[in-house]
């Protein structure tokens, strides 16, 4: 069943601008992970944030998590054409479960 829902479905920005993507989910989670997928290829793991964390950084990436609103955001700063890809959030519910439930993704286009 669908857990994460990304917003917007598609986003087009100019190179150098910041890109923000949002993910909402329905049930309590153990952690939330963001992935990037280039042109229907494999998924690249970007960042994992646990339910007891509020913010994490990795290079130009900043992820926030608001468990009270059941939402997360991914911010890419100073975007580059190479950031053009689809971005997915995936949630893991219980500590005893290994299954990830993926959202539908945001398709980001960065225009040079």
């Amino acid at each position: 069943s669908q857990q994460g829902e990304e917003d917007p479905q598609a986003l087009s920005i100019q190179e150098g601008e910041n890109a923000t993507m949002n993910c909402s989910y329905k049930t309590s989670i153990n952690n939330l992970q963001w992935y990037r997928q280039n042109s229907g290829r494999g998924l690249v793991h970007l960042i994992l944030i646990r339910s007891n964390e509020r913010e994490k950084h990795s290079g130009r990436l900043r992820v926030t998590l608001d468990t009270s609103k059941k939402s997360s955001s991914l911010l890419i700063t100073a975007s580059r054409a190479a950031d053009t890809a689809s971005y997915f959030c995936a949630t893991k519910t219980g500590a005893g479960s290994y299954q990830l439930t993926f959202g539908k993704g945001t398709k980001l286009s960065v225009i040079p």
Binding site: N31, Q33, G42, H45, K92, Y98, L100, G103, G105
Partner: protein, 114 residues
């Protein structure tokens, strides 16, 4: 992190035939998974590949259609049997790392069924 390879990277198959996809990891991992991504869609978990025992399938997926082998801790195969055009998808394997939470994915196998 883990380095994961998949073979083949893509294939075009005829209806009614079967295709076996291989997933190789550069280190021993406990948990391996198979996902399907239909065109324009998100990822759906097919099954968990268990070493030394039968795979655990998610609702809507059955062993006769998607038999899985896991002979050791670094290798698994997924077979898509008796294919139809509806099976056209990207199939991805993933592994769970030592922290028990992070899943890393292979490059995927793009399957087209005519």
């Amino acid at each position: 992190s883990a380095v994961i390879s998949q073979k083949p990277s893509r294939d075009i198959c005829q209806r009614g035939t079967s295709l076996t996809i291989q997933c190789q990891v550069d280190s021993q991992v406990t948990m391996m998974f198979w996902y399907r991504q239909q065109p324009g869609q998100s990822l759906t978990l097919i099954a968990t590949a268990n070493q030394g025992s039968e795979a655990t399938y998610e609702s809507g997926f059955v062993i006769d259609k998607f038999p899985i082998s896991r002979p050791n801790l670094t290798f698994s195969t997924l077979t898509v049997s008796n294919m139809s055009p509806e099976d056209s998808s990207i199939y991805l394997c993933s592994v769970l790392t030592g922290d028990g939470d992070t899943q890393y994915f292979g490059p995927g196998t793009r399957l087209t069924v005519l």
